[in-house]
Amino acid sequence: MKLTRRTFLGTCAVLAMTPPQPAFAAKPLRVGMTPAFLHTQHGLLAEWRDYMESRLKRPVEIVQRDSYRETMDLLRQEQLDVSWICTYPYVYLKKQLRLVAVPLYQSQPYYRAYLIVSAKNPQIKEMSQLRGKVFAYADPYSCTGHLFPRYQLRKMGEDPAKFFAKTFFTYSHNKLIEAVADGLAHGGSVDSYVWDSLQALKPEITRRTLLVSQSPEFGFPPIVARRTLSEAEFSAVQKMLVMMRNDPQGSALLQRLNLNGFIQGRPNLYDGVAEMMRAFGEG
């Protein structure tokens, strides 16, 4: 697993704090990104980092990992100051993390899980028809890409471990859409934000998939900070993110991220996810 290709689709945001003392300036703010987000927008990521550096007036280091699990490990080990993580890991690590900001997607701090199937199988209209088929999950710690479809099956009275003939992880929502589009998997559960954004950018891929059903709303993957981060740094990052939509450069970046902005948000946005986790004996 060491030589995994660096095709991260994700980007996540992070931030920093405005160091009051110059001594702080030398120490970079480490910002983790998980592949919750779109394709290989490395250029966009670099621009966002520059933006953060200019606003926080301190170096920012972006840390990317292939799986949610790796980012979670870094957070637990306090090797990251701030990280944009998926909803599930946030709820999972809630005790060790503080909510910094919640992105606004389509002016709402919510997103959904989309159940998609290959366009070659238009006869599949609901989850129950996928019995005995091949199903693609995004990441073991993905809310929309793993937790929700299993929860749905559980509610249908099915055993998620036996319902499908075969399941596999793609470790990225983009790749999951690709897997379903290619027909490798008959169906998959994907982040609505990723699917919608990809449809705007590369409709030739999403066109090969069919949107079968949508989940209820969940709190959008948040930006979190380790609990041990100083209040000053926490505030600086939070302020920077919330203020992004108010300046032209920040607006331009948000537009390219397909987001409307960041708000402070409240942890109870994620209660729905916590409930699903409890169904599996987690959290």
């Binding site: 697993m1 995994t4 290709r5 091949v134 075969k166 596999f168 897997a179 027909g183 490798l184």
Partner: protein, 494 residues
């Protein structure tokens, strides 16, 4: 086939040449194509084998950790590159697990995950069996009746065997590439042929046309003497050129022979006529002389009355006319006569000049005689007078008659020795072929000017003296020119 062989060389030579060119082009193209097909296939298999081994090494950990997507990405990678990098794009790659089920494939719709490989296609069953045989190496499998090529590589590390990577290539792709090369080769061959064919055709024509001309003339040989072949038609030293020259030589010989034959026939005819004439003349002459004598006796001793006398005179005149005519036919050249002297020639000139003046014809006289020659003067004078009278009569008024008389020495083996040459030339109308053919026959030109015995006499005299008479009548510079040339040997045995 017979029809082809019967064709004229004009078509056959270029056709054979073209056939050779086309055949050569076809054989070379086919050989190269077959070779390139073989190379294409072996290149493909070598590349595929290398690729399969490399890929199998990378696939091992991915399959070991059951990373379907990662496996898919690895086998899918070669398909994302621009085609053209590899000579033949694979149809699909498939990873089979140990039980022979599809673990993952690059064509999930045709070869879906978990499907039993054996049942996916008819030719897969035999293939799956071959794959199931234990082995560590990459194998190339080409089942009969399958239009696919398979390259199977075990995915294993040491003793752990996880499955098999199968690379599937359609032979159709191979064939279509082969077809593409074939089309290119055909195009090149057509270009070469287009360039070479006119050359071949031209060369064939160069050889065939002279042959055809030669054949046409040879075929005429039986009927008439054909024309010469123009040497510029084929001016080379090879066999054909030599044939041309030999043909022209043969033609020349034939012409000479024909000319001699013609002359022989002519003189034989004249000789026969001469003999006949002389015989008849003798037969007539004898009773004629008797009749004349009888008439004479009757006139002097018969005491005829005036009426009878008148009748006798009439009879005598008629008989005398017959005698003259017969006498003219009875040419006797070898009568005893004195030798020809230069004065004899001058006498003839004096005799003719008044007639020439009368017709307004000028005489150009050139006599080289300086001493008497041992030839009968009477006969030679007779010849000269006859020729001159003819020439003056044939000339137009204001014309010229040229006379040359000279002893000549010939060195030709047949007639070695000295001869007398008499040549009389005049202008005016030339003789027709018909006239020339019967020129020396008696009464040949029986017209108002005479009985046409002049030339007959000349001919008889020349022949009796062992000589010859030749006539040439032709147009020179738009003017008619007719010449009679008599050659008589001097001192020849008589």
């Amino acid at each position: 086939m017979r029809f082809l062989l019967n064709l004229s060389f004009r078509y056959k030579v270029p056709l054979w040449g073209s056939l050779l060119i086309v055949g050569t082009a076809a054989i070379i193209s086919t050989t190269l194509l077959l070779r390139s097909y073989g190379e294409l296939k072996s290149d493909l298999l070598r590349d595929a084998t290398t690729q399969g081994r490399t890929m199998a090494t990378t696939l091992f950990p991915a399959i070991l950790h059951d990373q379907v997507w990662r496996t898919y990405e690895i086998i899918k990678a070669p398909f994302n590159r621009d085609s053209g990098e590899s000579p033949v794009q694979a149809e699909s790659f498939v990873v089979l697990d140990q039980r022979g089920q599809v673990y993952v494939s690059t064509s999930p719709e045709a070869l879906p995950m978990l499907a039993d490989f054996r049942q996916l296609a008819p030719d897969f069953a035999a293939l799956a069996e071959a794959i199931a045989q234990p082995g560590r190496d990459t194998r190339v499998l080409e089942p009969d009746e399958s239009d696919h090529l398979f390259v199977a590589t075990p995915i294993r590390e040491e003793e752990a065997h996880l499955g098999t990577l199968v690379q599937i290539y359609s032979k159709k792709v191979l064939h279509s590439r082969f077809q593409k090369s074939a089309e290119q080769a055909a195009l090149t061959a057509v270009l070469v042929i287009v360039l070479l064919l006119p050359l071949g055709w031209y060369w064939g024509q160069r050889t065939a046309v002279p042959l055809v001309r030669l054949t046409e003339r040879m075929e005429e040989l039986g009927r008439r003497l054909p024309d010469n072949l123009a040497p510029e038609l084929y001016d080379y030293q090879d066999e054909l050129g030599r044939l041309y020259r030999a043909y022209n030589r043969m033609l020349q010989d034939l012409r000479g022979k024909a000319e001699i034959e013609r002359q022989m026939i002519h003189s034989e005819r004249l000789a026969a006529i001469g003999k006949l004439t002389a015989g008849i003349a003798h037969e007539i002459n004898n009773p004629l002389l008797g009749m004349l004598t009888a008439l004479n006796t009757l006139r002097h001793h018969g005491e005829p009355g005036p009426r009878t006398l008148k009748t006798l005179t009439l009879l005598e005149r008629g008989l005398m006319q017959i005698k003259d005519t017969v006498g003219a036919l009875l040419v006797e050249a070898k009568v005893k006569s004195r030798d020809l002297s230069p004065q004899d020639v001058e006498d003839v000139r004096t005799l003719i000049e008044p007639q020439a003046r009368e017709r307004g014809v000028s005489l150009h006289w050139d006599s080289r005689l300086t001493a008497p020659l041992p030839l009968p003067s009477t006969s030679v004078r007779q010849v000269l007078i006859n020729l001159l009278l003819n020439a003056v009569q044939a000339s137009v008024p204001g014309g010229e008659v040229r006379v040359s008389i000279a002893p000549i020495t010939t060195v030709a083996s047949a007639n070695a020795g000295t001869s007398l040459s008499i040549e009389v030339v005049n202008g005016g109308q030339i003789l027709t072929d018909m006239q020339t053919a019967h020129l020396f026959e008696p009464f040949a030109n029986d017209d108002e000017r005479g009985r046409g015995l002049g030339l007959w006499v000349c001919y008889q005299i020349a022949r009796q003296l062992g000589g010859d008479i030749a006539v040439a009548s032709e147009m020179v510079d738009g003017l008619g020119r007719t010449s009679f040339k008599v050659t008589v040997p001097i001192g020849a045995p008589q």
